[in-house]
Amino acid sequence: MDLTAISPTLLVASLMVAATPILLAALGEMVVEKSGVLNLGVEGMMIMGAITGFIAAVETGSPWLGFGAAVIGGAAVALLFGVLTQVLLSNQVATGLALTLFGLGLSSLLGQGYVGIKATSLGRLDFGPLSDIPFFGRVLFGHDPIVYISLLVVVAVWAFLRFTRAGLILRAVGESHEAAHALGYHVRRVRLMAIAFGGACAGLGGAYLSLVRVPQWTEGMTAGAGWIALAIVVFASWRAPRVLLGAYLFGGITVLQLNLQTAGAQVPVELLSAAPYLVTILVLVLISLRAGRSGDAPADLGKPFHASS
């Protein structure tokens, strides 16, 4: 065993890369659920973002346009879900599952000509001398822009839900759509906007996979990341800072266990492989236990709403 082979700097740096797709998708889903909608189609929206982003980046040669296209692609399939569940009042659980299947199928169709191609990726941001600070330079100032954007989104979502009037309305819609409706708020409009935001975030996370983390297009490349994002929302009890904690914990332990294996740590491999799931769940459950019941699910989560009922 040679644990000195593991460089803490590289470990933390790659942890942030590994966690970013799940973090983005989970944040988006948290906003959707806060508005009272349960969208199980995160996996489908992520992979649609991954392929639309990849295609756009390859065709235009610009990763930025790729990420832009991923945001639109993710939001577009999310709105499909939105129209079905909010306007046509289809069952949210079934529609979400269908969205996942639809996204996986459509993405593999779209991606047929893109297997084995390399897209131009985003470079690391150049912070000049700041990046040369030992440890912190690489960890804090050595990333591509999307990592910072994802952290900004955490802060923005947290502040939005906590301090703004619009955030209050969104939460009210999720807690009691009847009351919100009676007060004159547009329940359906709020929910559609939340769904589109969730799709955009998931799409961005998916594109981060196909443009930075893996960097290439492979069918089915999300491989369950969307489901992990869904779980993290629940265990984080619908709070943005805990979503960040959950995603970084999960990404961190995933990367750490691979590094430990490579270094030859004398820990059973099965335990190492299961560790990201076990530790993330355990930590988040313990936190939410201590915090009492205040962080529970929005009261109207998953319930259909129609103004006539």
Binding site: S108, R213, Q261
Partner: protein, 363 residues
Amino acid sequence: MKFTTMLAGALSLGLTGAAFADAHEPLKVGFVYVGPVGDGGWTYQHDQGRLAVEEEFGDRVETVYQESVPEGADAERVITQMALGGADIIFTTSFGYMDPTNNVAAKFPDVKFEHATGFKREHPNVSTYDARFYEGRAVLGTIAGHLTETDKIGYIASFPIPEVIQGINSTYLHAKKVNPDVEIVVTWAYTWFDPAKEADAARAMIDQGVDVILQHTDSTAPQAAAQEANANGARIFTFGQASDMSAFAPTPRVASIIDNWAPYYIERVGALMDGTYEQTASWGGMPEGEVVIGEITDAVPAEVKAEAEAMIAAITAGEYHPFTGPINKADGSVWLEDGQVAEDGDLLSMDFYVEGIEAEIPN
């Protein structure tokens, strides 16, 4: 109405029977895949085999497939569905489908089942087929041993099953033969296909000084991760797995181990058509054309390339077996005496590392 339904039923039954006897109706061939067809690796190659069957037999066959089927209970549902859908022969193409395949086979005695890389044949209608990937790994191991400068070669392993352990042992033995200082680093991904995890595993290895990476997982993500590292100034080599993965040649991918299932699929479907089909346990390798080494690129020094090609020729001619003694097990006990060749049974149940690999096999 009831009468007409019955009549229709009887008619169609009679018709199917007649059609079957005359072999007019196309033979329905089903495939169950563990990954997506576009994985660029394992499942892609099986699908190439399916297409080869279609090309060979034209209108006389109809093929169906289901991709990304999880190993476990879901697989049983999919295989049953395929049998109910009228498949005459079903190829289940991953190790984890072994028990589901046998379970379904018990319920459909008239349907033929062929399971890839497993060993259980509990019913007369179940055959198994596999390829001697360890023959290809011996060649890759030889190249890897020559190419490494840090003397650390990495192996991204999927699940601790005999096929993968054969691969690790064969790679290590042959790398060690040409480079006595070589060390093999095994990282278990516990998945056949998860590009993000495979890329992370490759990165963890690269961060820790591994400069040659072999993989036993199905996506091209480790190649992409190595390519990225090379673009940032590293010197990493990789090998294509299951498919050629030539999009990453000439570097980091310097050679590949290719699974070519087409000859086997054509032979079996043909046998079922002309009535010579029998239950088998097939284990072909380089001599049968089932294990192929893809182009060795110019990034490999000429003399190393020649050595690798000589080994391919020797294995293909049946003159060299990659597991030829003396070989000790990791615990120091003797496995093969000098000149002794491993038995197939030992290989098929291989659950130990050879001497020199410092790690435990998860079980």
